[in-house]
């Protein structure tokens, strides 16, 4: 077959490369986990003694019960949410779900180590608990975002290489923001979305494929692939309140984050629908917008959800982000592609980059506007962790640091994306030729008898029988 010969021309055969990378890296994980990773006190069998030492009267005080339900929701977002959201392409469903599965499964292991060294390192060991699992999922979330930009155009090895580097850079950036700048970002508008999206956009810019229109016929959706994608959309949408509240402080902060996110997302759906209809001549709704822009409201309150943003503040932020995101799909994505040569398969610029920036800015403003009156004396200190060396920070200074966090995230994303993009450009990773992009058949065994179907599908102008 032509298609396969051409694929071979670029040698997309993964037979030795992919197994080698997977097995070596897994081996490395085992060795590093063996040296470094141990159970935290709340997951260790010594917990009974610990409980006594900490004067806890009940097992329910174990952090597991505060965070495990949210963890599972986040887990679903990463694997089903992102995975299925990207199945909208008519012939890349296996790659969307399957590669997302692969990179996330690898990424969470490496993230446990990287984030562990930065945040949970004690006496030479990384002590892990449910919060570490959530943070690892979060970190990988930023890789899933970047994956959205290069979806359909990269080999699984490239994705694994990108994951390795991106998780590393994510952890450094997160350390700078949370520990050095003492910034609040529980839902990750800056650390996850802004960083992940601009990182991915930079990578896809560097991997620019001038002949991508050769696979244009495969870049669209079919009826059922759009429905599969809606599974992803809805799980992301429904569980986003868990995402933004998962690592907030116990009690009111988790509660408040969930409410703010719920409100923001609800508003976002309405403005997305409004603009989707308004921007099309016949007023019809576009599934691309509904699948993506409806989620912008979750991104845009990622930093501020645990603050006293208030429900109406959340509605405002959600409304704006839905509008911005939908406008992005209609006007900005084509512009990015034609002028800036940024080929953004899933439109992560609209769903994560711009809403992420909004989220960072809203967070900075909300922090700067905080008062002891609104938060209560204790609540104020607790919300921003104004203790120890940060005892003297004022809200406006905090707002400034929050803003600095956006800038740092952007710089890290551009610099990191450029380097990683350069690495991925090396001709050794087995990516497909332009005319084979967005096609599962390159890296997956596709059900045999369907081939003739698929053949017809993609060549509607050719006769079905010779």
């Amino acid at each position: 077959r032509d298609r396969e010969r051409q694929g071979m021309a670029k040698n997309t055969n993964m037979r030795w490369r992919l197994p080698l990378v997977c097995l070596l890296w897994e081996l490395a994980m085992i060795v590093l986990f063996g040296v470094f990773v141990r159970f935290g006190t709340e997951a260790d069998a010594h917990w009974e003694e610990e409980k006594r030492d900490m004067n806890l009267t009940s097992d329910i005080e174990n952090d597991f019960y505060f965070r495990y339900p949210s963890f599972q929701d986040v887990h679903v977002m990463i694997f089903v949410g992102f995975g299925f959201l990207m199945t909208f392409l008519k012939r890349y469903g296996f790659g969307a779900v399957g590669f997302n599965f692969l990179l996330a499964a690898f990424g969470i292991q490496w993230a446990l180590l990287m984030q562990g060294w930065f945040h949970s390192f004690k006496d030479g060991k990384i002590l892990i608990g449910v919060e570490n699992l959530i943070n690892a999922d979060f970190c990988v979330g930023s890789v899933c975002i970047a994956f959205g930009a290069i979806l359909g155009k990269t080999s699984p090895i490239q994705l694994l290489v990108m994951t390795l580097f991106q998780v590393t850079l994510f952890s450094v950036n997160e350390y700078i923001l949370l520990n050095l700048l003492h910034v609040k970002d529980a839902g990750g508008s800056m650390t996850i979305h802004t960083f992940g999206a601009y990182f991915g956009l930079t990578v896809t810019r560097i991997l620019y494929r001038p002949n991508l229109e050769q696979s244009k016929d495969k870049q669209g959706s079919v009826y059922h692939s759009d429905l599969f994608a809606m599974i992803g959309t809805l799980y992301l949408w429904m569980y986003w309140p868990s995402f933004n509240s998962a690592i907030s402080d116990h009690g009111d902060a988790q509660h408040r984050s969930a409410i703010n996110t719920y409100c923001s997302l609800a508003a976002c759906v309405l403005t997305t629908m409004a603009f989707s209809s308004m921007l099309q001549k016949k007023g019809k709704l576009d599934m691309v917008h509904i699948q993506n822009a409806t989620l912008a409201g979750g991104v845009a309150v990622g930093t501020s959800a645990e603050m006293m943003l208030t429900p109406y503040g959340s509605l405002i932020v959600g409304s704006i982000s839905g509008i911005v995101s939908t406008l992005g799909y209609v006007y900005f994505t084509p512009f990015l592609e034609s002028r800036l040569h940024i080929q953004d398969t899933c439109g992560i610029h609209n769903l994560h980059a711009m809403p992420g920036l909004i989220g960072g800015i809203v967070g900075a403003i909300t922090a700067a506007a905080a008062t002891e009156d609104v938060y209560g004396k204790e609540g104020f200190i607790k919300a921003f962790d104004f203790t120890g060396v940060y005892q003297t920070r004022t809200p406006s200074i905090q707002g400034g640091f929050q803003a600095a966090g956006i800038v740092v995230s952007l710089l890290m994303a551009f610099a990191g994306g450029a380097i990683v993009g350069g690495i991925l450009k090396l001709p050794i990773w087995g990516d497909a030729a332009a005319e084979n992009c967005f096609e599962d058949g390159i890296y997956w065994e596709v059900p045999e008898d369907e081939e003739s179907d698929v053949y017809h599908m993609h060549n509607p102008d050719k006769p079905a029988s010779p």
Copy 2:
């Protein structure tokens, strides 16, 4: 194209109407939330002080930890459960999932306000917490139910208008039942299902389309659309124990509701399968029954699940409701359509209306049969909240009030449905002509090239062009 021209003939173009409605209403929400909605004490940053005042020793006492997991399950039921359940139609999957998404996202905002004014109003503010989010989802659930009756026959604007009115009426009805009649209805057999279903049936009666058989070919399912629908069914079925227990009292009541619902649903599956097979000549199972009637058991214990219904009582109720619901699909739906001119797309009469009535009646009987022996002295008072002015209520009187609750819900549904149906009949909302019903192409951009594709896919041996 013919099809589009006819659509135009009724002017289904949403370009200005839908955006206008969405944006104006969202603006109204922002203003009203700004004036009225604030965080409840458990979500407010003053929680630390509150905790001290209430003598709580741990953050785990925050209602968030009692209800958030159930809330998320309910959230999934509303958006994925109802949304995907309705994707069974071969060409209305976008409308099913997408319009459900739209109306629910709007409805929860309006419900937070309406229910807030009735139940959480304090010093001029509505104070919200996780229980309010659950109740808003519940309220919208009744709209999703009504949507099932008119699925495929209405424009998105009609759905938004219906949502506005139905949420309003729901809240009034709920207030009458819960506050004035002091009725128990944690799982909403009366407030959600009976009210929602008869409201929707009245609306669809008024919107009767005599020529609907013109789109009969699109009213069925295809193989994969039935599988998509099963996603909805299973999530509704699995999470129903969370639905019925979500707002029950802490402790035994939540625990008991979940168990009763689990039992009822399990029994319902068996009787549904039995009758589905029995009522077909060749004994084959019908997906319509499996998708819908298996859920009747959850509806039918909605009122009584938190009472001492007992596991075997639940099995009985579940068994009966599965039978009634399946019989409904086979005999009642055709009768309603041909004789009463009630066109009920999803058969909500069988899944929600009749089981809802059963639920109300079972609730009344279970309440009337309650004794201090079975509940324990304290448990008895707590279960029915026989405190304050209700201190002297006896079980049989409570049973009477429960029965009155059914009647009130029915009356509100018929009256409200008639009025709202009348409003929706106005020729300004952009609904489609009869021959364009059940067709996504009217309000959605549908992937263009699929037409010929699908043809090839299923008929590989037939030539593509005649």
Copy 3:
């Protein structure tokens, strides 16, 4: 039609048999529940008094709050996880999801009774709470596993008969392991997976169909059926940490189980992808492996997850099980079929049987290697419940008993499977002829004329045939 005539030749008409079985059995359940099943103290309205007696200060101490979120995850695994995992067959999606639904709904009722008599029987009553619901789901999980071996080749009545017997035998085996041998097996590597898989394999061996290649064309997948199956895979994968931790002791044990399982599953994905690619000439990934072998890591830590397996131990176990499982699909399944006449539709030997054995062995070793140093004095006693008559057990003796548990489970599976297989071989259950296997049309009303439908649907104006 030919096909139907042949089906009739074997009389697959379920019209009276299936309803009769379903209704009689449901009636039996109602009677038995009426006689035996009552609410446990934590779900009973007397809880207020109980709370006082047990000196509990808060409703949050109710077991409901420790286990309900995990229960719901397990529930999703049983109904959506197993159900959709099996939809990979191109024409058996209804049967996969629908029959799984039927057998599980029946099985959980019977399991509540069987397990109740063995474990929750007090004063002539079975007292149930959320832990019983989890255990009933677990028990049914073993039936879902066995269903995987005979998928597509049995009638719904056969499945119900098998469920009745398998649940019974499961409960006996579980009682021997947990109560007589005092074995630990929280995630059920032995009780659920080893037992369930070898039971199912024995049954399918006895039901061997020599002419099964007559329906070979239907034994494969199509593109979208593989995506539906991925829904099942991902939900099983994501929620497996809940599965393995759901009935562990409160506190550290639940926490630890979740972490170990998370780690094992992550590693398993990488080795599965590696071997899937390595074992195919062109290095392409095979969906069968990704859908199944990625889950082996959850099975293989089922016994040891709540022990101090450590995160790196979990990575090792997960890695190995992914390799073994993938090798099994490539080399072992064809061997089993051609040489041993074991027709294993879903490859449960690779996903459950071998990883289950690994899980049992790893559990035995981990138990034997336990020291007071690693667990802490109290933690050691608590982890293995070395109290009462077991006070003097040493880790190595415990390891021996764990190993004995594997042997007992195997023997029970082989003996039980042989007997039940024999019963199912009787020619009265209405199974289909070989050429009608893997075909929904035998037991389900399938959307009638899908082939031409779709054509008509999209081209209403074009003639169906040239």
